[in-house]
């Protein structure tokens, strides 16, 4: 039996979390086959074939898959699923949207967002915003699993040369249509994979004030995060949200500025290696998870913090 892993990409490049999913897949079974559904996506198929964990690439190159629509993806994946023991992808907005549609068509009870592989049928997954961890055993013949990317190290992206097999497209469903994607381009590291994340909350008071965060993030080569309160208030766009229903991040250093630390925010960052909290309310729950807490007005502390960083001879990148 082997694993079928669904590759997330933009027809040019493989999205980085795919490699974390591949590493989880390899722990389940070494025979990892990956599926690339795309259009003019030869470079994607080629690049994923170089991941040494991958045993075979199935590439279906068709206009139908130019944009990712779960309806079109799931119908062809069902056809290909025979003979596989597991179907896997990342538990990000890509996989969360796709996998349940596959699972239901296969009459499988999906296991979402696993953080650990115990055996080929037993996994650990967080529940209640990570306030509890459940060990669960799947009894279905095919196991449909999404993996929490930040809980697995990425598989290497080079050194292998798997066979690339071309496959036949499925039927067009015509139920839905892609209109547009407003992707926020940035030169910063991606929030999900950055070594350092600097996040702002409601305490920032305005979008304009996020420039204080940006300046520190520039210095530390960090990604910028935000609490839901900051996104809801319109200070910053939704792609920055960290939390139970946003992104889960596990950087080496997480700096929470003006964030009180609601359970839902902690769910997205409390596994970070080192946590710093800067908040003027000494009772804020964020201090309960912080390794280093600074009780201070962020409008004084952030410029000073930048000044101190500027004094250092070297800063890790």
């Amino acid at each position: 039996m082997s694993v079928l892993l669904i590759v997330e990409h933009n027809n040019k490049e493989v999205k980085p979390f795919t490699f974390n999913a591949i590493s989880a897949a390899s722990q389940i079974n070494e025979d990892v086959n990956v599926l690339v559904l795309g259009y003019n996506s030869d470079t994607v198929a080629k690049s994923i074939s170089e991941c040494p964990n991958v045993k075979k690439v199935i590439h279906i190159n068709n206009e139908l898959y130019e944009n990712y629509l779960a309806e079109n993806y799931s119908s062809v994946i069902i056809k290909l699923s025979e003979g596989y023991s597991h179907i896997i992808c990342s538990a990000n907005t890509f996989g969360k949207n796709l996998m349940p549609r596959i699972a239901a068509l296969l009459d499988v009870s999906q296991v979402s967002d696993i953080t650990k592989v115990i055996s080929e049928d037993t996994f650990i997954r967080p529940i209640y915003a990570g306030n509890a961890f459940a060990t669960v055993k799947s009894n279905d013949k095919i196991k449909c699993i999404t993996i929490r990317p930040t809980s697995f190290d990425p598989a290497p992206s080079s050194g292998g040369s798997a066979e690339i097999q071309n496959g036949e497209p499925g039927d067009a469903t015509e139920l839905s249509k892609f209109i547009k994607k407003e992707e926020i381009k940035s030169d910063r590291p991606e929030l999900g994979t950055a070594r350092v994340v600097v996040s702002g909350g409601r305490g920032m008071q305005s979008g304009e004030n996020f420039k204080l965060i940006t300046a520190v993030a520039d210095k530390l080569n960090a990604a910028i995060g935000a609490s839901r309160a900051a996104v809801d208030a319109g200070y910053i766009t939704n792609d920055h949200q960290v939390g139970q229903t946003g992104k889960v991040v596990v950087p080496d250093l997480y700096i929470a500025v003006g964030i009180s630390g609601a359970i839902q925010h902690l769910a997205g960052m409390k596994e970070s290696k080192v946590i710093v909290a800067i908040n003027k309310d000494g009772e804020a729950p964020i201090f309960s998870v912080a390794d280093y807490g600074l009780e201070a007005d962020l409008f004084d502390a952030l410029p000073k913090f930048l000044e101190e960083l500027n004094k250092l001879n070297t800063i890790q990148k």
Partner: protein
């Protein structure tokens, strides 16, 4: 147009979760329960569409134990016209919930089904997509904006990279993000009125759906505790600690 909205009764989002000592689950006795937060957004959106004259009826449905009636009643108090409770004991996995909803959809024939994008208890994020698959309907997940057109919806979705807009043919399933709208509070007169609205009760077994979990829950544990941190007195001390003690900058 008729809209069916699925709501789930969960432990209130402000409650500090406690794991049972024997590892068999979460303590739920004497714990405050509420509507799953994004399900409130789903109801709000359906009611707004009706108020705009684009829907004729909003039906709220919940699957769960008898007490889930409170959750349906709350939806009635903010504007749903009538309710349905499908009774099932114990854990009902998203696959079983979606099969129950499929049966109800076949009977009620709504044009749209709304629900929250994720339940904050099991954090599965599956039911809407599963229901869409079973019905062979399109799905618009993580919706933060919905535009009702003649025979379709234009939906803006919150995705990792930013925002995506898709068009889905009606009938369709929409799973709602917390940013879709600001749910209203129920006024006292509307709470009183809701008490008179009808809630139909159905047993899951009468629908021919087996709700026995497929997945074995072997144990539930508390997450590892972080060791207590320290408070630093100044920015200078913070930077020194990060450089020399934690060695992360």
């Amino acid at each position: 147009m008729k809209i069916l909205v699925a709501v789930k009764r969960v432990i209130d989002y402000n409650v500090q979760i406690r794991v049972k000592e024997d590892g068999s689950g979460i303590v739920t006795d004497n714990v405050k329960m509420s509507t799953n937060p994004p399900d409130d957004n789903a109801i709000e959106e359906a009611v707004k569409i009706k108020e705009a004259g684009k829907a004729t009826e909003v039906v709220a449905i919940s699957v769960g134990e008898e007490k889930a009636q409170e959750t349906v009643r709350k939806a009635l108090a903010v504007g749903a016209d009538r309710g349905i409770l499908v009774k099932a004991e114990g854990t009902v996995e998203p696959l079983a919930v979606s099969k129950i909803l499929q049966k109800i959809v076949e009977k009620e024939k709504p044009d749209l089904v709304f629900m929250g994008k994720q339940a904050i208890d099991d954090d599965c994020n599956q039911t809407g997509q599963m229901l869409a698959a079973l019905l062979n309907w399109p799905q618009a997940t993580f919706a933060s904006k919905i535009k009702v057109k003649e025979k379709s919806l234009e939906v803006t979705r919150e995705i990792d990279e930013g925002l995506e807009t898709i068009e889905v043919n009606v009938p369709a399933i929409v799973t709602c993000d917390l940013r879709l709208n600001e749910p209203r509070y129920a006024s006292l007169p509307n709470i009183m009125k809701a008490k008179k609205k009808q809630i139909e009760q159905i047993n899951a077994s009468d629908l021919g759906i087996d709700t026995k979990p497929r997945i074995d829950q072997i144990k539930v544990e508390e997450p590892p505790k972080r060791k207590a941190g320290i408070k630093v007195a100044s920015v200078e001390e913070l930077v020194q600690k990060l450089k020399n003690e934690a060695k992360v900058i």
